[in-house]
């Protein structure tokens, strides 16, 4: 009863500017991209309706499958790692006994405040085969220098490491906020009842951090599914090697090298749908959790 009392005239008037911008810059381009995915368009002459030809072509396109494979690999490795590292840092930095924890908190966030292009350039300098500090340090331990980010056998791992470095600040922040909001009495009660550190973490802390966990997983998944900038910069900007192709780069490649805006729109649609489906699933879960909590 009265659940939508906030839908007043003032609400709509105040929301109007945001709504107009949303419509112009998000909703319209979204639907236009969806439409262009069903056309053959070179970006210069008028688009021609092509039905599902672009989607059919994807099935036979080896570059598309390479991109899917890379996206999945990065996703599967990155997601658990960023969650675990973020959680680990958060637990560590939540502990008041840790010396200089405020400075450490700042350092952990450093990757997050840097633009991805800067992150890419920093990694390129660090890993330079001749002048990079990483190779110099490894040489001390007898490891010969290597072009880590260019080597086809190691390049993808450095995309993951770079992304982790940049994104774990976000995961740590969310988990820290979750930890700060916890009722410490529950943990103390468990401690008095004789629960060991692992039991307190597994059966008390983790379930209480579930909303934060869902936020971290959802946002990290969205970030990594559309990863582009880091790969672009690490590859020198001119041309990304095929073994590092991801869907977001493929959209760029099809537009600027093959003039296939329609095909690129179809790939972009697929990428958007996959991000949307994943986010929706996670959001549903979060709403479900809230429902259980409030119920």
């Amino acid at each position: 009863m009265g659940g939508r009392r906030w839908l007043t005239k003032d609400f709509f008037i105040l929301m109007m500017p945001a709504f107009i911008l949303l419509l112009i810059f998000i909703i319209y381009p979204l639907f236009n991209t969806f439409y262009l995915g069903f056309t053959h368009w070179d970006g210069m002459t008028a688009p021609k309706f092509a039905g599902i030809a672009n989607y059919k072509e994807m099935i036979h396109d080896p570059l598309f499958w390479t991109s899917i494979k890379n996206n999945l690999f990065i996703f599967v490795v990155f997601l658990p790692l960023v969650t675990l590292i973020g959680l680990g840092f958060a637990v560590l930095l939540h502990n008041k006994a840790v010396f200089g924890r405020n400075v450490l908190r700042g350092l952990v966030m450093l990757g997050m405040v840097m633009p991805m292009t800067v992150v890419g350039i920093v990694w390129m300098l660090l890993l330079d085969p001749h002048a990079g500090i990483v190779n110099r340090i490894l040489e001390i331990f007898g490891v010969p220098p290597r072009a880590w980010i260019q080597d086809p056998s190691t390049a993808i791992y450095f995309v993951i490491i770079g992304s982790l470095w940049a994104w774990q600040g976000f995961a740590t922040t969310v988990f820290l906020a979750g930890l700060e909001g916890l009722d410490t009495e529950v943990l103390e009660a468990a401690w008095i009842d004789g629960a060991n550190a692992w039991q307190r973490f597994r059966y008390i802390l983790l379930p209480l951090l579930k909303p934060a966990l869902i936020v971290v997983v959802t946002m990290s998944a969205i970030y990594i599914l559309k990863v582009f900038d880091l790969i672009y910069v690490l590859s020198g900007g001119e041309s990304v090697p095929m073994y590092l192709f991801v869907l977001a780069y493929m959209v760029y490649y099809e537009i600027f090298y093959n003039f296939r805006w329609g095909y690129a729109a179809a790939i972009a649609t697929l990428l958007t749908v996959s991000v949307f489906v994943f986010s929706l699933g996670m959001l549903k879960k979060m709403i479900g959790e809230r429902g259980v909590e409030s119920g």
Partner: protein
Amino acid sequence: MGKKPLSIAMVFVLVLAVVAAGCISGGGTSTTQTSTSSSGQATTTSQTTTTSQKPVEVVIYGQWGGVEGQNFESALKVYEQEHPNVKIKYVVQSKLRDSVLTELATGSPSFDIAILPWPALIKELGQKGQLEPMNSVVDAYNGEIQKDLLNMVTVGNTYYAVPIKAWAKPGIWYNVHDFEKYNLEPPKTLDQLKQDCKIFKENGIQPMASGAADKWPLSDIFEAVLIRVGGPQLHNDLMLHKVKWTDPRVLEAFKILRDLIKEGCYGNPQTAIGEKWEAQVPRLANGQVAMYFMGNWIVLMLEKEGVKPGTDFGLIPFPVINQSAKFAIVAGGDWVVIPKNAPHKEAAMELAKWLAGPQYQEIMVKKKGYLAPNLKVPLSAYDPTDAKVVEWMKEYGIVPDLDDNAPPGFQPIIWNKLFEFWANPDNYKQIAEQLEQYAEQYYKS
């Protein structure tokens, strides 16, 4: 009260948003319409400004930065002094291809001239009706402009661009002191090259640099070897896909490079693929690297490092591999294009005419590292190193750059596959097969 104004407000928002969104998409989807109106408007503006003496601002997009960009801007000042009605704004676009294509797709580009180094892209844009034909500029110079460079951007009888700069990839630049120190002669044959490499390697000097991390220099090295294996004919045939990437002569070129890479001529294979091309210039200047295959633009960069041509560095053609194969130099250029919907087309055309002429090109040639496509520029205007390159071009003849003239989508594939080859040279047969598969796809379309 309450519901009605609310509904009106909602409808108003929707209509406003749809209209605004429609305006945004209009330029992108209906180029022809925008083209007509926009070009009409542009002409009017240009005429008005001429009569009212208000300067017209001609916007140039290019990717010449650093010393080259400064030289270009100082040359443009000469034009501005001679044409007080024109102001020129040169915008360095680090992502030139992306900027130009995106603005052309909107139907109303904000630039009047773009300096592009991709002839295949120029032809494609011209055929799609995006570029203004430049026949009037070419006709004005009646045979003065280098024909090879004009042919690269010609479709039928239409010139879609005009070259304002030529460059060449004449051969290997070498550090004179490294060779003197070990009593070596600059190599003339493949065996001598391998021998020199061995001695440099034994003495802790990287024999050759590749600039592999940027990928494009690898296609230049590959082309040099290809020409020495099968002459300019094989090079041109592969560029036009008249021969396959799996042709025995092409495989031979791959095999020669495989041996050079594996023998360490390009340094430690595990680090060589991480070397950026610009970072190799100071390494060549200070003797860490003995030889470097690169274009003539390297002269300016080397001189900036404080080394002098002749005394500190020299130039040799790529060593002979097959005695019966004719030699040729890979050359290309930078072309000026004017979009169909350029805001100030008339003023842009006038400026393009000046850029294609001997006055501007002589100014640039005197600043070094710049070769003139206009044949009226005298050889005496050149620096001795540049003059040597020009003479070689005349003596041996030139061939177009293979990857620059391949279909635009195939170019990054060539770079990528050659990079994979550099990382795993033993895979050359597989890489040639993959290149052939892609070539069949791109040349067919």
